[in-house]
């Protein structure tokens, strides 16, 4: 049992991050805190990809004729890390749009608290 937890601790960490992110988005009333929850959620997914591709004692994945490619496990897989560079950029853009909308909402209603907002909208 303990091995199961210790052997997969990176995944448990990811799950906890996803849960914190969902909690922030569902329970918190402030729109900025919701956005922070969103950011944590995305970070959870990004860290999942990064931890999946991690190997101990592996070397750079350079394909050359002189290098022996006998053991695949001796090479890092750089692809998930590269994908996550793109995902981080997507996350930054999402945050940008979210904060632009938050500024717009604050200018119109003068509050960022969801319950007050709903009261003012009605």
């Amino acid at each position: 049992m303990l091995d199961f937890f210790m052997g997969h601790y990176a995944y448990w960490f990811t799950m906890i991050l996803l849960a914190i992110g969902l909690y922030g988005m569902l329970i918190k009333k402030n729109l900025v805190k919701k956005t922070i929850g969103l950011s944590i959620f995305q970070a959870g997914v990004i860290l999942f990809f990064v931890s999946v591709a991690m190997k101990w004692g592996a070397t750079v994945p350079v394909k050359a004729d002189g290098l022996p490619v006998s053991e695949v496990s001796n090479y890092m897989n750089a692809l998930p890390h590269t994908l996550m560079l793109t995902a981080i950029v997507v996350g930054v853009a999402t945050l940008g749009v979210a904060y632009a909308l938050i500024i717009k909402i604050y200018n119109r209603y003068g509050t960022l608290d969801e319950e007050e907002l709903l009261d003012k909208i009605q």
């Binding site: 988005m25 959620f41 995902a87 997507v90 999402t94 909402i105 209603y109 907002l117």
Partner: protein
């Protein structure tokens, strides 16, 4: 120009104009609409060319970016289904952009340049989602289209930014869940290419990560498609956005997401593997059926035309997803045909509500009366065509997709979903005929009173830029209905393996 470059040229056109419009719009904002029309016109022309090429030769174009062969490189797969969907969404976008002339003056004056730039970016994302053959590339295009649609929805009434923010939160969670699902699949197969992964999945189908990935991807894409329990963002977003934004997003956005669901369920997993560990198709079918009824009933309860259309969208997207979940040839034909039909019908209905908003300043159903048929005779004809097609009366397009869906449910002996189709057609009739009744049927007492005191309403028909796209779509509904046998023959060549 050879046909083999068409898949790359379509998104390239949009990205070129997404850059050109802000640059030129800085000193000449009045020609931004002409540029946007040019951009989407070129893209429509290219996709029509590609589709004709497909019908004549039947060949699938696989475009390798940078010359890298898949699975290492990224490819665009321009098969029959992608060619068809790309043509539909580009043609609809072109028509809606023609219609946007008056609304953009009225609802967001002075902000035309950002509007047209963002709509070009959104179309880039949607075209990329349809064309790409790579799961991670699909995520990137999904986020491009989503971010642009958040911005488009935020243009509009006072409440629009708040509904856009809610959509942003829900939509980004959906996108992230999809990405997590892709990650699960990548860890067990080591590839991101859809065709390559389809070939590898039979070896790993017993792995629990594959089930998790399927569930995550269906939920993630389901959020974007507004599948029933995940539809919460849709009604407010469509209602409070500017009329031209909702006319652009409603017919295209959810259809493309449903298309991704089709790709994942029937092309990536395939008919044999989709139900290997969980009865995914049955579960999705149940949710689609509940969504159809829920959307129709909620639409009856609405007193605002745009909100009614938004709920009706939830119900109609249920038809498409139901057709996918049947996983048989008739269901597939019904789903693909309904993508075309619903795109035409819903775009037309949103354009009518936009035209009414321009002329009357509102689109409240309670204020509709029989003066509308004198003031806007042709707009109302277009509305009636779309409404009858939504209900599903035979000469119009809407009947045929429902017919194939019904055949699909019979083939699977799924009597519950057959009942859902029939009941929801009746519910559609209820919420559209109450408007037609207000517009076309006279209350005799009221008319005498009207004749006595009020001046008879003048013909106040909308201008050419609004009439033209509505007329094309209304005629399109009739043409698609009459010539549906030809379209179905083409759809026969698009079947995934295993049918």
């Amino acid at each position: 120009m050879t046909g083999s470059n068409i898949p790359a040229l379509i998104p390239a056109t949009y990205i070129l104009f997404a850059i050109l419009i802000p640059v030129i719009g800085l000193w000449r904002s009045e020609i931004t609409r002409a540029l946007a029309l040019l951009g989407s016109g070129i893209a429509t022309f290219l996709s029509a060319l590609g589709f004709i090429n497909y019908i004549q030769s039947g060949e699938v174009i696989r475009y390798y970016f940078g010359g890298w062969m898949p699975p290492i490189g990224i490819e665009f797969v321009y098969d029959g289904l992608a060619a068809f969907i790309v043509l539909v969404i580009n043609a609809i976008a072109f028509l809606v952009l023609i219609h946007s002339k008056e609304i953009s003056k009225l609802e967001f004056p002075g902000r035309k340049m950002p509007y047209y730039t963002i709509s070009m970016l959104m179309m880039l994302g949607f075209n990329g989602m349809v064309l790409t053959g790579d799961l991670f590339n699909l995520y990137v295009f999904l986020e491009i289209s989503s971010l642009s649609s958040y911005a488009l929805i935020a243009i509009g009434s006072k409440r629009a930014p708040y509904s856009a923010f809610r959509y942003l939160i829900i939509g980004t969670v959906g996108g992230s869940l999809y990405l997590l699902g892709v990650g699960f699949l990548y860890t067990v197969t080591g590839t991101l290419n859809i065709i390559d992964m389809h070939a590898m999945l039979p070896q790993v189908i017993g792995h629990s990560a594959v089930v998790g990935a399927l569930i995550l991807m269906v939920i993630g894409v389901g959020v974007k498609a507004a599948l029933f329990p995940l539809h919460g963002w849709l009604p407010d977003s469509y209602t409070f956005a500017s009329s031209t934004s909702s006319a652009l997003i409603a017919p295209i956005g959810t259809k493309v997401a449903a298309y991704i669901l089709l790709r994942v369920m029937l092309f990536l997993f395939g008919v044999e593997l989709i139900d290997a560990q969980l009865p995914v198709t049955t579960i999705v079918g149940i949710f689609a059926g509940v969504g159809i009824l829920y959307g129709s009933i909620m639409a009856i309860a609405q007193s605002e035309l745009k909100k009614m259309l938004a709920y009706s969208s939830i119900s109609q997207i249920g038809y498409i997803i139901m057709g996918i979940s049947l996983a048989n040839p008739f269901g597939f034909i019904g789903a693909v045909l309904h993508v075309l039909n619903h795109a035409l019908m819903k775009a037309l209905l949103f354009l009518v509500s936009g035209s009414l908003r321009t002329k009357e300043g509102h689109s409240l159903i309670t204020k509709f009366d029989n003066s509308y048929r004198k003031k806007y005779p042709w707009t109302m004809v277009a509305f009636t065509t779309a409404a009858i097609s939504m209900v599903g009366l035979p000469p119009l397009a809407g009947f045929f997709s429902k017919w194939y869906l019904a055949l699909g449910t019979i083939e699977n002996s799924n009597w519950m979903l057959l009942a859902v189709i029939l009941i929801s057609s009746l519910l559609n009739a209820v919420y559209f005929f109450r408007i037609l009744e207000k517009v076309y049927l006279n209350n005799p007492d009221a008319e005498e009173a009207d004749d006595a005191e009020a001046v008879s309403p003048q013909n106040n028909e909308v201008g050419f830029s609004m009439m033209f796209p509505m007329a094309v779509m209304a005629i399109g509904l009739l043409v698609v209905g009459i010539f549906n046998a030809y379209i179905v023959n083409v759809i026969f060549t698009m079947f995934p393996a295993g049918f």
